[in-house]
Amino acid sequence: MVGLPGQGMHLQLDALSLLFLGLLAPQIVASAVAGMRGSVTFWAFVLGMVLALAAADAFTLIFGFELMSAASWLLVLRGDARPATFYVTMAVFSGACLIPAVFLPASSVAFLLILLGAGAKAGLAPLHSWLPKAHPAPPAGVSALMSGGMVKVALYVLIRYAFIILAPAQQPWWGVVLIVAGLGSVLIGALRAMLELELKTVLACSTVEHVGLIAVGLGVALRAKAMGDPILAGLALQAALLCAVAHGLFKPLLFLGAGEVKHAVGTSSLNWLGGLMRGMPRLGGLMLLGAAGMAALPLGPGFAPEFLLLHAVIGAAATGGILARIGFTASLALLGLGAALALGAAVRLIGIGFLGRPRTLQAAAAEDIGRGPLFAMGLLAVLMLPVALLPGLVLQLLTPVVMELAPAAQTPPLAYVPVPLLLLGFLVLAAAGFVLQRWGVRGTRAAPSWNGGFGAPPPWLPFGDPLTQPSATGFAEPVARAIGQGLLTRDMADPAEEWVVAPLLRVHLKGVRLAERIRRATIRERLAFVFVALVLFLLALGLGEGG
């Protein structure tokens, strides 16, 4: 019998796990095609995720979850050893929170433990600072699966426990906690995505942001469910699930693309790229699609979830006490900030990395992607289309899941319908095209760019002087000055580092010093330890029996 001695392991599929498995499948295919086929560790990673999603008992769930953590740790370690320890710390921490939680009776303590455990693995603020370090480390295929899949598995655990298993004990404030954590992630994630230079780090930060969005949706739903508001619960759940689906499609696409960029250029630091759209148009086009999703632009895959989420928050602000309403008003503002920042980040990614002039010769000489990656990214891009253009249909597919999570929920049809918009836009374009063709002069003429009046570059700089074009740093500088200094620490580091990680490290250092002192004890001192302990035990014994 395979599994826990005496109990084995049991699997079972329901709507929720099927949804997440379906979410995982294309990513796995894409990552495998993109070059992870041969790695045993990668398949162990996949196995762990699948087990966690299909688990019917606590052991299988935790086994899969931890296997996923362990395998991804090894992959991170092989990629870049520096963040590995921090990563495994968080991974083990989430395990250490989850194992007790699954055995506690349904209660608020259990929920908080689940939130800590799953949240730490999903990168919810304030336990997110490992994610932008660890996700970029391994090969692109793994990064893609970590951002698109592993994070979702963590959220799956959170959803399953918060909505189904712990439902008997649910409280409205559970949702509030989730919302607050989510808003923090949105803000920090989007801001750092706007400021970071490394392409993969930008994507990882944006993952933090999207996890935050999903968490806000789940929080609103949880609160509404506990307060008995079926419409709002349905709306918020739709938002969260659709956001998970969309993110699970465009984020792996972007990560794979980032990997290809690194492979072609040798670096993926935005300040050393530029003009890639010329050398690698196919990759550029795919990245543009992904970025549109990341920026939640209309007619892109990311807009419908954002739309639903904002409506859910507005709806939440229309109910409850005045403090709650004011809180939701504020969170609406924060979501707005986050959305605009995400737009900035996506625009920066495309505009600095793929448009403009090459900043290095490698960037100028980059060759377009091969068949494998093209297929992988193309698959994801094709799957994005329905989410982008027929979100209503996708939502209907999600309805069983919503019903499973909140049986009383109602799912009104989506108010955002891209197809007519597309039609309208087509008409406008047709008209404009007609005018331009009919009365305008046709054709275009290539000419040296005006380039702000700079003189022609010397011959040994075929693409002009890189220093004369705005860098990624410069592009983000206004935001850094206006917001960064307020939200981040002085050296533009993550506040979680300063307020959460650093104090813990200090405490740990104290413990280590003490342990070293004990280790260096002389024989006599070691005897003294034994003796004192013995006397204390005897004393406890005597007093215990005396009393």
Binding site: A58, F63, I523, L527, F537, L538
Partner: protein, 482 residues
Amino acid sequence: MILLPIFLPILAAMALTVWGRPLQGAIANAVLSFFVFLLTLAVFTSPGSGLIHADALGLLFGALTGFIALTTALANIFYVRGAEARLAPPLWRLYHALCQVVLGATLLGLYADNIGLLWAAVEGATIAATFAVSLPRSASALEAAWKYFILGGVGIGLALFGTMLVYLAAQPALGPGFAAMSFSALSSHAAWMDGSLLTLAFVFILFGYGTKAALVPLHGWLPDAYAEGPAPLTTSLSGPMLNLALIAILRFRHLLQANQASGGAAMPPGPFLLTLGLASVFLVGFSLSRRRDARRFFGFSSIEHSGIVAFAFGIGGPAAIFGGLLHMVLQTLVKSGLFIALIGAAGLRDSTAPGHYGFSHLRGIVHSNKYAGWVLGGAIFGLVGLPPSGLFASEFIIISQTVQRNPWVSAPLGLGLLLCTVAILRNVGPLIFGSPPPHTRPQKAGAEMHLVALHLALAVGLAFAMPGPILALLSNVAGALQ
């Protein structure tokens, strides 16, 4: 029949002290261990009777001890071939004799159904091990042996006092004579024993055998002893000795539990064990992060695992005891394998002398030999409770039981395990995949690496696909000793 596996090695030891060149001694040692292993299996059919008769627990761990001794002895051949020049021939003879003595004494302790014999066995094993540690004759080795001797001696003294107190406590139930010293009789009459005396006895037993099991704060001897002695004997073969001490604690704990359960005056054993267990896990969690010598490092991790097992025993209940026993089995397999692999790895860096097990010296094993690197990495990974490592199963059982029976202590346990896991795993990177010291050339790995792989495979298989008979055996033992 049952006497054979115990006294064959002890008698053979005499011969080994006077006969043979180092390599011959090693081979003889291996052959003897092989026979002993077969005998430990044969004992299953005839557990014997009287002073020395093995119960299920003894049989199981006896077989485990035999297996470990066999693999260690086989690996020892490679070790001796590499390190022959490092000790004088008479010392080598002494060394191999001591291997057999330790083996015989451990088996005696496991099979004895008499608390006095158990004590004598532990004392013998301790003295032999102390000798072994002192063999390299270097200042640090002597110092380590001296520590081992003083602390171990005190522990043995306390254990004897506890043993006598148990006898005294059994007087009302069994009266004078051998009956009052036999585990089987004691556990069946625990209800009528003098509870308060029994508790007092348990404290001394705990400190006595706890010293052998290296529970904090009684652990002082272990890291140095591991790090200074001749590697195979003092590291790989010492796992069974820790098991012996832990099993002794478990047996006495059972007396206390039974007496208390049936309304006796005994105090519950839980708090004592939990305190020592948590102390061990935490101290190790903090101590590991500054170690630079591999053997000392993994010595500390042995302390951690003793602590986990003691903790499990403290939680009590059949499931937790089961988890504790499973943890002992798996951790012994993995740890012994790990030390064999470590010796092999140090061999790849062409030096098996003590002191050459520094992490800086062993960096980037995978660059010396891919297979050896992965095996060593797997062994290290096997020490932490992350799947697919087998220890995940046992630690999962233990934590779940903790949450169900005593939720509040699960928080410190989780924190301690977190510290230990991270402290162990952060060495995997540099040690296995890191950049090797200059002039490192790829080399052939010794065959002992296959032994390690066997150990690991056994550990994983036992944990996640446990054969029915063993499962039944373990759960019966756990149920009987809860």
